[in-house]
């Protein structure tokens, strides 16, 4: 295939951002941004259509010289795991533009530029085959995200943006040390594939494992380095929350999958019980915190901590079902929590309150809205038939195989999720109509539907027919297992 598809995917939003700078008028900016994200999404679909699910090898690989003196190249490529998240990023990118259509009414151009630059960098992270390129994109993401929260956020935006920046930067610096150490220990190369093939002594693996853990745990986020998340989410505009929950949190888990597991297999195995315990802690602690929230956004934010706990639980179960489930849950969480933040944003635009106590009886006033809220609430609590149930079943099945007791703790988290999600839905949608201000509320319009419906389709598609999604990641997951457990020893 002659076409550099991944470069096109990564650079389309970047070029689009440059194009936006030339435009005048908010309308033109919005439509162009939408066009760019849709084009990017179309490219991603083309990529998936040409994706070979039978191999774990990197596909659509491109290599260009960059800094030969240091062995740095501009290399892109995707395996099954990254392909899924490239698609998710492009999907949520389109949703973000639609979600910001009316919500962002000042400095529209600057906002859309930030959004598109952000998308380009996120895609860069998932496509990078060069550790240096990965790190550059990983770090550079902070800037547009900082701006999105800090400029267009709520009242406490500066504090939240700063806290987000500080936490992630602290994690990243440790990561940088790890990257440099890896460079020297791994044969002075930044090539991720070469680094993966290199066998490191256990002691080195251990040090690197914890260096990476700190960086990735902040992103996931795992308890106890999660406290930036609720602040960032509450203050961020809707699109910011969708990106944060939908894609940024996945970066941490993706880091485990791309670096920790394949490059540091012995350390990953050795510390897996610790990771399972931290995951179980996040599941239950995040769930308890979510249970105590009155702010809709905070509730969804804390639920993310709990749900991402399921992801890391699945990953560090280090068996087939666990990994499949963990990765599928990453995708599911992106879709479902992205949609929940979108819905919270939509209702906030109308009522200017996020306090659950201010709502009640919304079903009578906005039946379409509450139907979607019900669907995504049920998806988030992993009702059978929805996407998360498939993921949760796989994660728990793998988790039980790895550690019965911690699997049982995770089930407790599933129970909590039913409690806070159904409680939230009931207080918002059912019961008597509460405040008089709610009575003139408008149901979802066509543009809002255009953002929600695709996500709703994925909820049911993955829930009832997850095979296409699992077959994309299948070969890569099996290869990953071989890398961790060594060839010959099955999962």
């Amino acid at each position: 295939m002659g076409l550099p598809l991944l470069s096109l995917i990564v650079f389309t939003p970047a070029v689009g951002a440059a194009l936006l700078l030339l435009l005048r008028g908010d309308g033109a900016v919005r439509w162009t941004a939408l066009g760019v994200t849709i084009l990017d999404l179309a490219l991603c679909i083309a990529m998936l259509a040409g994706f070979d699910t039978t191999t774990h090898a990197m596909q659509f690989v491109e290599r260009h010289r960059w800094v030969p003196a240091l062995g740095i190249t501009f290399s892109l490529g995707v395996d099954g795991i990254s392909a899924l998240f490239v698609f998710l990023t492009a999907l949520l990118g389109t949703v973000c533009v639609l979600a910001s259509w009316a919500a962002i009414d000042r400095r529209v151009k600057a906002f859309m530029v930030s959004l598109l630059v952000m998308q380009a960098l996120m895609l860069g992270v998932f496509c990078a085959l060069d550790l240096f390129l990965f790190y550059v994109c990983w770090e550079a993401m902070l800037i547009p995200m900082y701006l999105i929260i800090g400029v267009w956020g709520g009242e406490g935006r500066v504090y939240a943006a700063f806290k987000f920046f500080l936490y992630t930067l602290a994690g990243s610096l440790v990561f940088l040390v790890g990257v440099i150490a890896l460079y020297f220990q791994g044969g002075e190369t930044f090539d991720i594939i070469a680094l993966t093939a290199h066998n490191l002594p256990f002691a080195v693996q251990s040090w690197l494992f914890f260096a990476f853990l700190i960086a990735f745990a902040v992103k996931v986020p795992m308890v106890p380095v999660h406290t930036w998340l609720p602040d960032a989410h509450v203050q961020a505009p809707t699109a910011g929350s969708i990106i944060l929950a939908g894609v940024l949190l996945k970066m941490g888990a993706y880091g485990f999958l791309r670096f920790s597991l394949p490059m540091l297999p012995e350390a990953s195995l050795y510390y897996s019980t610790l990771m399972l315990a931290l995951s179980a802690l996040a599941i239950v602690y995040g769930g308890l915190l979510a249970l105590a929230q009155d702010d809709l956004k905070k509730l969804v934010a804390y639920s993310s901590i709990s749900h991402m706990g399921f992801v890391t639980l699945g990953i560090f179960a280090l068996n087939l079902r666990g990994l499949q489930g963990g990765i599928l849950q990453m995708f599911n969480h992106g879709v479902t929590t992205g949609a929940l933040f979108l819905l919270v944003g939509l209702i906030y635009e109308r009522t200017h309150t996020r306090s659950i106590a201010d709502y009640g009886g919304l079903m009578k006033l906005a039946p379409v809205y509450t139907s979607f809220l019900a669907l995504f609430t049920l998806s988030s609590m992993a009702l059978p038939g929805t996407n998360s149930f498939v993921g949760e079943l796989l994660v728990l099945s793998g988790g039980f195989a790895a550690n019965l007791a911690l699997g049982a703790v995770a089930v407790l988290g599933a129970l909590l999720s039913a409690a806070y999600l159904l409680g939230m839905y009931g207080r918002v949608s059912l019961g008597p109509v509460s405040a008089a201000g709610l009575s003139k509320i408008r149901d979802v319009n066509a543009r809002e539907m255009a953002a929600i419906v695709p996500l709703a389709i994925f909820v049911l598609w993955v829930g009832l027919y997850p095979k296409p999604f699992l077959s994309i990641i299948d070969a890569s997951v099996r290869h990953l297992l071989v890398q961790v457990h060594g060839a010959g020893s099955g999962p």
Partner: protein
Amino acid sequence: MDPAISIRPLLAIAVPGLAALAILFLNRRERLRDLVSPLAAVILFAIVASMAPTVLAGGSVELRLFEILPGIALAFRADALGMVFATVSSLLWILAAIYSIGYMRHLNEHAQTRFFACFAASIAAAVGGAFSANLFTLVIFYEALSLVTYPLVYHHEDDEAWRGARRYLVYLMGASKSALLAAIALTYQLAGSLDFVAGGLLAKAEAAPMLLTVVYFCYLFGFAKAAVMPMHAWLPAAMVAPTPVSALLHAVAVVKMGVFCVLRVVFDVFGVGLVAKLGLGIATAYLVSFTILMASVYALTRDDLKARLAYSTVSQLSYIVLGAVLLSPVAMVGGIVHIAAHAFSKITLFFCAGSIFCASGKRNISDMAGIGRRLPWTMGAFFVASLSMIGIPPTAGFVSKWYLVQGSADAGQMAFLLVLLVSSVLNAAYFLPVSYTAFFEAGTQESLSKVREIPLVAAPLVATAILSVLMGIFPGYFLTLADGVVR
């Protein structure tokens, strides 16, 4: 016998499902809307009945849609156990649909479109559960049933309704998101599949007996719809729903879904052999015996007729489970047949309670003195159904109790024979006084002078009472199916 491949199991789910959509669509055209339910019910029953000959002959009707995960497919199968449940649900839906129209119109209830739509959707979920070929498909419909019945429980939208509905959802969802989820994940882990296998999916699994025991009890309590104590408290709370809901859903479809799931677990997930080997049969039998007796005692103390019926249901559901876990073939037949026997009789009793409420506005038994003379059809049917609940020939309840008693003797478990006898006495003690009050106690005549039968309400309950007797005289259909399950 090779299974027959047919789309009919899916069609049976689609008909009530589409009926629900049609009802929503016909929101403004009430007469047309009200026609949808009875019509769909008749079609559904015809579809179910069309599969009966195959199943009665020992075969099954299957439809496998596609694989969801390795070892898990979206698949349907109408087998003997499923047919018992589906026959009862679809047959009684015809009568309940007519009854509902009479009831809702007479009381001029609000939100009738939502009511009828959710009602039809509940039947779709119940039939879907009956025809599920594996645990994954089953829990999809199991949970769907919880959700679509929820608006029926909060129907009145007053404080009491919201409280009851909340308890309903907390119990059902809480149990399924904890115990049931763990049980399914562990089963998938141990067996690599979630298919129902004759003789038991887990029969060959290599697992510690302790772990299997935990999984078993996770199922028993996770399927909270079976209302085994202490997971029973949602059922009396659900009585805030309009009476047609209590009748068809909370005496037939929803609760039978619960025991149906438990029977599936005993027969097709663990298998009789494994349950016996682990010694779980007797343990469960003691557990449900407690439920049988305790719920009967509760029922004795309730003056609210629907509450008394609800506790009676809790008690009777455990008969079904008891029959299964005694693990003797005769007892199992008794348990399975009791699904149908209890359904016909208990729906009659609830229909009667609704009829009394419609005609007189009375809920408490103590207020019903002399009402039998004003409502002879209703109270006559109530008496017949009471006899069936107690187990007096020639009613349906006699058939199942006969097999249960004989089965406990077969199993050499005299303790449970005693439980059955004591509970029969308790049944008589809480049902017969109702008839006595209604017929023989003198009421204040003026308050009853305007009370008269409502034809659209009374006709279905007479029909179900007749069914209760007919099943007692001609139990062949259900006995053959039950034999098919046990064989």
